[in-house]
């Protein structure tokens, strides 16, 4: 379970001491106040420099929080963050992952929007299937560190990619149920995740799935205010975003969720493509071209003309295609997926509706959590996953567009 053999911090990485910060403060103040007196032979100014304990209430609180944790081994390092394993000082068997946000060189406007979003939403969401944020603190070099749940068993994408692991339709049902509940909870709290994909769904030591990376999340928009359509990693992006919709709701996450479930069932990417344009082709190959009859309003979306006006209409694949492609889902499972992937977002199931689908209560029953198959040694994977910015595909190809939010104007 959580008791890893390496619970104690490495000697090379001393934990932050309260005194360290205090002495920095004292020095900082001394520099400021002695700037005139530099070179003065008498030692008076130094002797009367303020005590290091003169801290703001907020600074004290920050130090108290920081001192609850001990940082250990580095698990991964990326452009945006470094991830360490750590533990509670009080209880070394209680492991955590400490994600230290790096200063972003491309973003010169202070703390990044991603960091703000991740802190903002994880602070509000507490649910067994959403990664827990235990605490946030700033370190002495003014970097923000997030103390997150330690999730040592990798992620969903790693799971289906690992040919050594075999799993059943019952297992898929158990994982899908946990994922759908996480998405439901976000939406009940009026939060859109906007980057659901296999490697943002991490696995805890007890096999519980945890939705992570809220760097692209946002609250449901005020009615009528525009949102950017440049979100969600391409393979998981629903057709309305590809067509440039600037008003959307929870249904964008539902589409992505269905993609993740289908990937589990096929052990492959479900709708892979090379470009945004191709993504729409891949989707219409399966679902047929959208028309004004089955998706009222589709022709007034920004990118409709370019894509469909003069293209020959495509017919959707028949149900038999789904049955052949997703035998592990069963008929009810396929029905659920197709309802979660209705092209017209207003006809797509809401997260709340997905939980009412008969698939969950029909036989076979989902596997109990403790019996789910999984891999060991996924800790490095967690390091990889947590440090990665959103909107990026694991293959190393970066879909950078998703990072640049244009807000769709005002």
């Amino acid at each position: 379970m959580g008791a890893s053999p390496a619970v104690s911090p490495r000697p090379g990485l001393p934990p932050a001491k309260p005194s360290a910060n205090a002495s920095i403060k004292a020095k900082t103040l001394a520099i400021l106040n002695n700037s005139r007196a530099i070179g003065a032979p008498d030692g008076l100014s130094r002797a009367t420099s303020p005590g290091g304990d003169a801290q703001d209430l907020a600074e004290q609180m920050n130090d108290d929080v920081r001192n609850q944790f001990v940082a250990g081994t580095k698990l991964g390092e990326g452009t945006y963050a470094v991830v360490y394993r750590g533990h509670f000082r009080e209880d070394p068997t209680k492991l955590v992952a400490i994600k230290k946000m790096k200063l972003n060189v491309e973003y010169r406007d202070g703390i990044t929007m991603d960091s703000y979003r991740e802190m903002k939403y994880l602070q509000e969401l507490s649910h067994p299937n959403i990664i827990s944020l235990f605490a946030v603190f700033t370190s002495k070099d003014q970097n923000i560190s997030l103390v997150l749940e330690h999730l040592p068993k990798g992620d969903l994408e790693g799971l289906w990619k690992d040919s050594k692991i075999s799993y059943t339709r019952e297992d898929i049902k158990a994982w899908s149920a946990m994922l759908c509940q996480a998405v439901w909870f976000c939406h009940e709290n009026y939060i859109l995740h906007r980057d659901i994909k296999g490697n943002n769904v991490l696995i805890a030591a007890d096999n519980t799935l945890k939705l992570a990376d809220f760097g692209l999340a946002r609250s449901f928009s005020e009615p009528g205010r525009n949102m950017t359509c440049n979100v969600i990693t391409r393979f998981y992006r629903p057709p309305e975003l590809l067509l440039g919709a600037m008003h959307y709701g929870g249904c964008v996450d539902v589409w992505s969720t269905a993609c993740v479930i289908a990937e589990l069932a096929t052990r492959n990417f479900f709708l892979p493509s090379e470009t945004d344009l191709q993504q729409l082709t891949v989707i219409t190959d399966l679902f047929g071209s959208p028309t004004e009859a089955d998706w009222p309003g589709v022709s007034s979306l920004r990118h409709w003309e370019v894509n469909f006006k003069s293209a020959p209409p495509k017919r959707p694949q028949p149900l038999s295609h789904w049955k052949q492609r997703l035998p592990l889902m069963g008929e009810d499972g396929i029905d659920l997926l197709r309802a979660m992937m209705a092209m017209d977002p207003s006809k797509r199931l809401s997260a709340r509706e997905t939980l009412k689908h008969p698939y969950w209560t029909n036989m076979p029953r989902p596997t109990k959590k403790e019996n789910l198959p999984g891999m060991g040694g996924g800790e490095q994977k967690m390091g990889e996953d947590l440090k990665r910015p959103g909107g990026q595909i694991d293959s190393g190809r970066t879909d950078k567009v998703a990072r640049k939010l244009d807000f769709g104007g005002k």
Partner: protein, 435 residues
């Protein structure tokens, strides 16, 4: 499955970290004030001692340029200290050193309220929508629960907090656009950012009453058109409810009226506009968010805007104790009334009974008091925290040095450990060869 609004609210950071009883709120402010006062006094005393020492030194070696600087500093001491000084008046040594007269909690609160109006003006200036503005103001009020205006200048904090709120609430504006409008340097905005997010305890979600108000407005519209379904305990028909609504008196205690549907529609529009104004302005400038939930604040504003309509609405939703003895009706109404009293006592709220002359006189007096407070504040600023840009630079510089120090320490430890391992190996002899 559905979560109730209560379930969600009770798990929010706003409820967990930023909701208080009046006593808790007063104690927290007291604590912040005491700590700030102690520090201001200590830092001023230290600075005086240092200056005295420098003056002594100065008879022999002080540079002329430095002496020439001092009077200028005093002249421009309007909250934007020059880069070379610590902002303290150069004339202080001429006066006998007297005890610093610090702000009281009440005075601090007056100033914070005043600076909230600055945030409001700033938000209007950059064209931020109401919810972003309200978030900025609440951030500002939260910041000054844990900090004193004696320590951190309200003006400086306001500018950065407004920018932080733009980032957390998706109002797209780059720092370059922002500083071009506000007229400060990039560093002036960025230097206090960490300080601020730390004081906000990294909580960036503020729940506002605006959407709730719109919901109530839409529902009242449905009641008026006779299409609202009604709660299970309510035995009136849709038409009966509609007729009762039309006969509501214009103000509390007034006599029964009989409006047309069209006129009543106008009345609802007016109520919505007025309540919305109270929420955007008065509610932001009081402690309402610390003491009440968003829906309580919303109904309080609505109550001030039109008591008969609001009471009618509440009665259609909460059964009276006459029907259900355990109904929380009285508790809810009392809470809303208490919140309404808080809102209506703020100077930005003008009851219809106040004449323009009375209001002008009241405003004038308030302005004079603020002026006096600002003057007092100048004498009790924490000298260490005036130039945040420089402080931030020094802080970063120091952290880098501290990091190096730790790295070299770590290296030393590693060498020591390796040596120890080597010695241990030597002690036990060389490793045995495996067969």
């Amino acid at each position: 499955m559905k979560l109730t609004e209560d379930d969600i609210y009770r798990k929010s950071s706003q409820y967990k970290h930023w909701s208080f009883t009046p006593t808790q709120l007063a104690l927290l402010r007291q604590k912040t004030n005491v700590q700030a006062c102690e520090r201001v006094k200590a830092n001023v005393a230290r600075q005086r001692a240092q200056r005295a020492a420098n003056a002594l030194e100065g008879f022999n070696s002080a540079s002329d340029s430095e002496r020439a600087n001092t009077p200028g500093e005093n002249g421009s001491g309007n909250g934007t200290p020059s880069a070379n000084g610590n902002g303290n008046g150069g004339d202080t040594p001429l006066r006998p050193d007297k005890e610093v007269d610090c702000l009281t909690v009440a005075e601090e609160m007056r100033l914070v309220d005043k600076f909230c109006e600055t945030v409001l003006a700033l938000a209007a200036f950059i064209g931020a929508p109401a919810d972003v503005t309200a978030t900025a103001i609440q951030f500002f009020r939260r910041f000054y629960l844990y900090n004193s205006p004696m320590t951190y200048d309200g003006q400086v904090v306001a500018r950065t907090i407004m920018f932080v709120a733009c980032k957390t609430d998706n109002f797209s504006i780059t720092l370059d656009e922002y500083i071009a409008k506000v007229g400060v340097t990039r560093d002036q905005i960025l230097a206090p950012e960490y300080l601020i997010v730390q004081a906000l305890r990294f909580n960036f979600e503020v729940k506002h009453p605006f959407r709730g108000l719109r919901g109530v407005h839409l529902e009242l519209g449905e009641m008026l058109s006779g299409s609202w379904m009604g709660m299970p305990f309510d035995e009136r028909s849709k038409e009966q409810r509609k007729q009762q609504l039309l006969r509501l008196p214009k103000r509390a205690g007034g006599k029964e009226d009989n409006m047309t549907e069209r006129d009543f529609g106008k009345r609802l529009e007016y109520v919505y506009g007025l309540a919305s104004k109270i929420l955007k302005e008065t509610a932001q400038l009081t402690d309402a968010y610390f003491l009440y939930t968003p829906s309580q604040i919303m109904f309080a504003a609505q109550l001030l805007a039109d008591e008969p309509v609001t009471m009618f609405y509440l009665n259609t939703h909460i059964p009276s104790p006459a029907i259900y003895p355990s109904s929380p009706y009285n508790k809810i109404i009392d809470t809303i009334r208490a919140c309404a009293l808080l809102l209506s006592s703020h100077h930005s709220y003008t009851a219809s009974s106040v004449t323009p002359e009375e209001k002008a006189a009241k405003d004038k007096q308030a302005n004079q008091e603020i002026k006096a407070l600002l003057k007092k504040l100048k004498q009790c600023r924490d000298p260490d925290k005036i130039d945040l840009v420089k402080l931030n630079q020094a802080h970063k510089r120091d952290a880098v040095h501290a990091g190096e120090l730790e790295e070299s320490k770590a290296k030393r430890r590693k060498i020591a450990r390796e040596d120890a391992e080597k010695q241990a190996d030597d002690f036990w002899g060389a490793e045995l060869h495996k067969k």
